[in-house]
């Protein structure tokens, strides 16, 4: 037990069907009925409540398909502004219990409550208090996993959804972990999963009982040794608060694959606008611009370019993105996702940039600053590049990651 005292207590808090729960909250007449967030036959499901999930509806599925699975379900458009508001208040609740909060997304965070136990009680007691406070204050539920590592805490929260709580004590980690299928391990995607099945490794216990060297030979150094460690429940990553923003990215999954270059470049421009305006709002500039392309067969490639001078303009960034995309020379290939990444971020303050010869004094930078101001006042999208105005934006599930 001596060792256990040195072990941290980590909570993983995950809102239950967040977008759908907020939609139920705002439309009480639909409560308990199958409800899907993601409207328009050509867009994809962003979130589905548990009544809708009974019909097999899952996130990222085309709305058209979901409609065929449950024709009577209610389909609502997302309200991103509302989600961020609620998310902010929930994060505030977390911070009352511990300063060590690591938000993963709007509806999910790790909390290290090791130092809070004297003040607020055990991890389990803190989890109960947080769950109660969120439900009372916001009217929606969450699930909490409690463990001595992030990996196990996250696994635990996913095993007690919805509206549940699961604590895995340190001495129970292996008996909890080993019977699980390998696909439950963090980082095991369809490809690695297939590889593991080919090796006859189905459960986490199978991985744990395979020599580390064998795993490394089959999966490569990084994946092989990481899997082996996780299979033994060993995960020493800390909860990192306030991680300085290393990159900003925006990606778009199309509900139907795009192949028209004009259309693809329009999406890239939209993503550039989105990512760079977020970067400008934080007073940052990027030295590295990257693009991501996922083909219809899920093959994904990315390319990047680094400059000595950091940039922050939509048009400047788009020019680089366009060049990177054109250099791929994949005209006509069917794409299911495109993404833009801004990396190597530096503070804008006092940063000079080198304009092009003949660039107008009042140029894109000033125009974009004006657009950002207007967006702050009238909502994003109130002013946008002309080539983005005409067409309805492509059906999509948008992902934003920091």
């Amino acid at each position: 037990m001596e060792i256990n005292q040195a072990l941290p207590t980590i909570l993983h808090v995950d809102m239950d069907a967040f977008y759908a729960s907020v939609a139920e909250l705002d439309n009480p007449q639909y409560k308990g009925k199958p409800l899907v967030v993601g409207a328009g036959a050509r867009s994809v499901v962003l979130s589905a409540n548990y009544a809708a999930r009974k019909f097999g509806i899952r996130a990222a599925m085309p709305v058209g398909r979901a409609q065929r699975m449950a024709p009577h379900a209610i389909f609502l458009a997302p309200d991103h502004k509302r989600y961020s508001e609620i998310s902010e208040r929930i994060m505030e609740i977390f911070s009352k219990y511990t300063p060590l909060v690591e938000p993963i997304s709007l509806d999910e965070a790790f909390l290290d409550v090791s130092g809070s136990e004297k003040l607020f009680g055990t991890g389990r007691e803190i989890a109960i208090a947080i769950r109660k406070e969120i439900e009372t204050q916001e009217g929606i539920t969450c699930s909490v996993g409690i463990a001595t590592s992030k990996f196990i805490a996250k696994l635990a929260s996913s095993r007690c959804k919805p509206n549940g709580m699961l604590e895995i004590a340190h001495d129970r980690v292996l008996s909890f972990l080993h019977p699980l299928p390998v696909s439950e391990i963090w980082g095991v995607g369809p490809k690695t999963n297939e590889e593991l099945l080919r090796l006859g490794l189905r459960s986490v216990a199978d991985i744990a009982n395979t020599p580390r060297q064998t795993l490394i030979r089959a999966l490569g150094e990084a994946t092989g040794s990481a899997l082996y460690e996780l299979a033994w429940g060993r995960d020493y990553r800390d909860v990192i608060t306030d991680e300085p923003e290393k990159s900003i990215s925006a990606a778009e999954t199309f509900a139907y694959d795009l192949e028209n270059e004009e259309e693809i470049l329009r999406e890239y421009l939209r993503l550039c606008e989105k990512a760079t305006s977020r970067m400008r709002a934080r007073n940052l500039r990027a030295k590295t611009i990257s693009i991501k392309v996922r083909f219809a067969d899920f093959k994904t490639i990315s390319r990047s370019k680094t400059f000595s001078l950091a940039i922050n303009g939509t048009q400047e960034t788009f020019a680089v993105v366009k060049q990177l995309y054109k250099a791929l020379d994949i005209g006509g290939a069917r794409l299911r996702l495109v993404g833009v990444g801004l990396e190597n971020l530096v503070e804008s303050e006092g940063v000079a940039h080198q304009p092009l010869l003949g660039e107008r004094e009042i140029g894109w930078a000033e125009a974009e600053a004006a657009v950002d101001k207007a967006s702050a006042r009238f909502g994003s999208g109130s002013i946008r590049p002309a080539r983005l105005v005409e067409s309805e934006s492509t059906p999509s599930s948008e992902q934003e990651t920091n």
Partner: protein, 375 residues
């Protein structure tokens, strides 16, 4: 194949052709130098973009043609003692002997060697030192980004007796005009050539008085430019693409002008720029016969310096990338630099001046876009 030649003749010839050797060729034959012995000895090498040939007289005993490893031949040639050098083909190997030094070179299959382009018809002559200087003056402004290939080139615009060389990486533009003697006085053509290739060729022009320029006509199947001097020739493929129009960028008027001694200015820029990295702006304030240089800000290291200069016009604050500024100061090639300003956020034009009070040389202009602070 069997011949004997003076080592200095060999070295000069090998040096000329080895510039066209590619280190990572798409076919192994291109790693070699062809030695073709007939009435004279001709060496040739190519990386497919450029091809170089050089011929010399030798004491020829037996004709023949072989392909030998290029880098090895170049290194051997440079390290030989100053004695006559004998080449003899012995089965599949070439024996090279000079004094007491003996080398054996393997041969490469010569039938795999591609046909090299022939020199286009001669278009005229240029003084080689003028040409070399001009190339160096503009090459510094050429882009280094291979994803924008047209900007890695030098645009050569030939109009009657004037050749205008220009290069830009979009942040600065260097333009140089030179005079030449065209064979056809009404010639009007242009070419885009890789700046690196031209700069390399310029290095080899030392010690030669005149170079002949051969530009393949626009209608030719292969767009080539050839350079020839005495027994040395080089051809280079033109770059594809259209060089951006640049003449409208050159301002015709200015609001203020400065004249500064280049060596003291360069020393100051170098010192002040020490406190920052190469891409952080150097801030300059021109006012009342004074130039203040400043770099760094806030809690970082800072440096300032002040110079006495000749200055006409309203005070101006302007910021430059120090590397770009130093490139321009080196390139004017005169003891004094004349800088014409068109505004704090507009391009400044550097040109040369031989004397403080003398006229401004208008055959070279280096246009530099100032840096701007994020607002």
């Amino acid at each position: 194949m069997k011949f004997t030649v003076e080592s200095n003749v060999l070295v000069e010839s090998v040096n000329w052709v080895s510039r066209s050797l590619s280190s990572r060729p798409i076919m192994t034959a291109l790693l070699g130098i062809v030695i073709d012995v007939s009435n004279e000895v001709t060496l040739s090498a190519s990386d497919l973009e450029t091809a170089a040939k050089s011929s010399f007289n030798a004491d020829i005993k037996e004709k023949g043609k072989v392909l030998v490893p290029g880098r090895l031949l170049a290194e051997i040639a440079r390290s030989l003692p100053n004695k006559p050098v004998a080449f003899v083909l012995d089965n599949n190997r070439v024996l090279v002997t000079a004094g007491t030094a003996k080398f054996t070179l393997p041969t490469l299959p010569i039938n795999e060697y591609p046909n090299l382009p022939t020199m286009p018809e001669n278009s005229g002559f240029i003084a080689s030192d003028v040409f070399a200087t001009a190339i160096n003056q503009v090459a510094i402004a050429a882009g280094k980004d291979d994803s924008l290939p047209t900007l890695t080139g030098i645009h050569v615009d030939i109009n009657k007796e004037t050749i205008t060389l220009a290069a830009t990486d979009r942040y600065r533009l260097a333009v140089r005009e030179i005079q030449w003697q065209p064979n056809n006085l009404d010639i009007a053509t242009s070419a885009l050539l890789r700046a690196r290739t031209l700069a390399d060729a310029a290095k080899s022009l030392v010690g030669i008085t005149q170079v002949s320029l051969a530009v393949a006509p626009i209608t030719a199947t292969e767009r080539l430019v050839g350079f020839a001097s005495e027994a040395k020739t080089m051809t280079s493929r033109m770059l594809d693409g259209t060089f951006p129009p640049y003449r409208h960028l050159l301002p015709s008027e200015s609001i203020a002008q400065a004249t500064i001694e280049v060596s003291t200015f360069l020393d100051s820029v170098r010192r002040v720029a020490l406190v920052t990295d190469k891409t952080v702006p150097l801030r300059l304030r021109f006012a009342d016969s004074k130039l203040q240089l400043e770099a760094g800000a806030g809690e970082e290291a800072q440096a300032t310096e002040e110079l006495s200069i000749i200055y006409n016009g309203e005070a101006i604050d302007i910021a430059f990338n120090p590397t770009f500024l130093m490139d321009g100061l080196h390139a004017v090639g005169t003891p004094f630099v004349h800088i014409a300003f068109t505004g704090s956020n507009k391009p400044a034009v550097l040109s040369g001046k031989n004397e403080k009070d003398g006229p401004t040389a208008d055959n070279y202009r280096y246009l530099l876009m100032p840096m701007r602070y994020a607002s």
